[in-house]
Symmetry: C2
Subunit: 373 residues, 2 copies
């Protein structure tokens, strides 16, 4: 088989690049995907109860980038959706990220007022203060608050999620968990927040519906790479795997999902409820909030964080530790040696925890800077 | 790319053959499919309302063959289902095939009794009499009945379906339309009648979930056939197309489907209602009867028969006329000349109107007789 481009993987990065190459350069692309479906971890499907579910955990689209929004809007209509998350603290469900409403939900009114005043005074309204920063900089009552949030919202959730203590992780990740001095209960504040109206899989299907794009499923690229004629190759699969683990494994965190369908219209108050303290799960997502469907049953997905074992489960999150970044650097030097004959992009190939919009932006950028030139 | 077998198409015949070759012979298969999905015309999916719909018209599984049933049962659980069809005659909905209950639904009781008596006397209980045979052999009151059914059930439906007069079609087809001297209102009388519990697409997905099976979608086999190394080839696509239409086109009838979702639980009394006389549609199928789902909305599919135009729409039914069979014979001679280097199987490759069980049986038979030897 002869193509201009061989693309390994069929997730965000791969599909965006295939679409750009096929439509903008009129060149032929072969996508090779190990799984039997497109859309990567954003893959969704209607289950037997007719509910649109996310096979690999909830994916909520949000971006500040008009460029990403306009690009993806070519392939999907959107359902406007603000995602809300509540965290179970002392048996109460309070807004996450922890905000002024969370204060009032947990503490006696006059005490909450006092803490609110102190927060406003020290940081100002509308500011997101990373939990560890709050903890360091605070004193007196705010020190209590910082420790309270650290203990009840942050510590055990992080330990469940990563099986590491917070101090064993990079500040970048822990910085993701803020205290939001605001009454905005939404999980995201981006300009564009929405779900693809007919699902992610359908959006990617339309992206790939072009005669220049061939799609080979159920296939590890190693099985066919010697039998395909191609000019260039893009790898969106795991970086360490591409180089045969020559510098050792790049560690990932994995997840196990448990789906459960209940014979009732609704289960919880919002799309996602976090369990920072109790049980082994990190969170429960009720799929109907994401899809906006009106149906008599409801499907939940529970997430159990797991160690990643190659060949056994799927890699989800690069583990953000200095030693892993150093190992990644070794691989990036191997990438350099290839002199651009192989391009790498995506969460697995860049070993970076991209959100969906970041993956899209990264693929569009790669196309503009290194492909369409 | 190197494989043992190249299979053109991803419908019933192709999937069954791929599965057999992969699991029984441990040989490698590449399936090449023009569309972006597997399962051929049996393809189903959950639409945005959560209803399992059949993209290419209703497919109801039924077979007398325990062999076929046992084979497919490896890849799906089943939902037991008896399909019922009503035909709109003089504004009333009566059982189709026309049976003794239809008689009583349309005629005054004493007249219906008389006709019933005559039918039982002449043909016996439980017998299916082809409508044209009834018309020829009958006299007196039965002649009236034969003409009535011919006019009201058969003639205009057949004309809509084929755009041909009944006498322009082979007797084989017209024999498909019987008068059933029975009170059994079911459309089929086979031992096994059921729907795949999670749909046909899921059944085929499981069939193909084997490391020996590679699946190339969005691809016409001509685009890649010179670049693939394979030992043998199986064509399940159109016979005339494979031979570049050297003996002219084999004509097919096509269909246009109109889907409609209503904000009500239920639309009609049974799975399918035929409109033999009024409108341009032949029938309306309510998908929920087939899937057994309990949902607040309901999706209907209306069928408009169409001429088949290659490249414009899809081929559905080989048109059963002597001249087409003769043309098919010319192609079968070309098949012979290939001395078994290319195998042909399926509705399109055999140019035969197979039901799903017949296609399965044909593929299993081909595997046993010409492949696993």
């Amino acid at each position: 088989m002869k193509v201009n481009w061989l693309i390994i993987g069929a997730g965000y990065s791969a599909c965006v690049l295939a679409e750009r190459i096929a439509t903008q350069l009129a060149q032929k692309v072969l996508i090779v995907e190990r799984r039997d479906h497109i859309a990567g971890n954003a893959y969704d499907y209607y289950n037997e109860h007719g509910i649109l579910v996310h096979k690999y955990g909830p994916h909520i689209f949000h971006t500040k980038s008009k460029k990403v929004w306009d690009y993806l809007s070519q392939f999907t209509e959107w359902r406007h959706y603000f995602h809300h998350v509540l965290g179970v603290i002392e048996g109460k469900k309070v807004p996450i990220p922890f905000n002024l409403n969370s204060l009032y939900a947990l503490f006696p009114p006059r005490y909450a007022e006092k803490l609110e005043e102190l927060l406003l005074e020290k940081f100002g309204f509308g500011v997101k203060v990373p939990i560890l920063k709050l903890r360091e900089s605070a004193n007196g009552e705010l020190e209590f608050l910082a420790n309270y949030i650290y203990e009840n919202v942050f510590l055990r959730y992080t330990t469940k999620q990563w099986e590491l203590k917070p101090e064993e992780l990079d500040r970048g990740v822990t910085g993701r968990v803020p205290v939001y001095i605001s009454r905005d209960n939404r999980y995201f504040q981006d300009t564009y927040q929405a779900m693809p109206k007919h699902g992610y899989t359908e959006m990617f299907r339309r992206m790939l519906a072009h005669p220049n794009i061939k799609l080979l499923l159920n296939t590890d690229y190693r099985e066919i790479i010697n039998d395909i004629k191609f000019n260039r190759i893009i790898c969106t699969g795991p970086l360490d795997n591409f180089f045969d683990y020559m510098h050792g494994e790049l560690p990932y965190r994995s997840l196990r999902f448990q789906f459960d369908t209940l014979d009732q219209e609704c289960y919880q108050e919002v799309g996602t409820v976090n369990y920072p303290n109790e049980y082994d799960i990190t969170r429960i997502t009720e799929q109907k909030y994401l899809s906006g469907q009106t149906l008599p049953k409801t499907t939940l997905v529970m997430e159990y964080p797991q160690p990643f074992v190659p060949g056994k489960n799927d890699p989800y999150y690069p583990i953000p530790r200095e030693e892993n970044r150093e190992r990644c650097e070794l691989y990036l030097k191997e990438v350099e040696k290839l002199n651009g004959s192989v391009l790498f992009a995506g969460r697995l190939a860049d070993y970076k925890y991209y959100d969906m919009d970041q993956a899209t932006l990264r693929a569009l950028g790669l196309f503009e800077k290194e492909i369409a030139v």
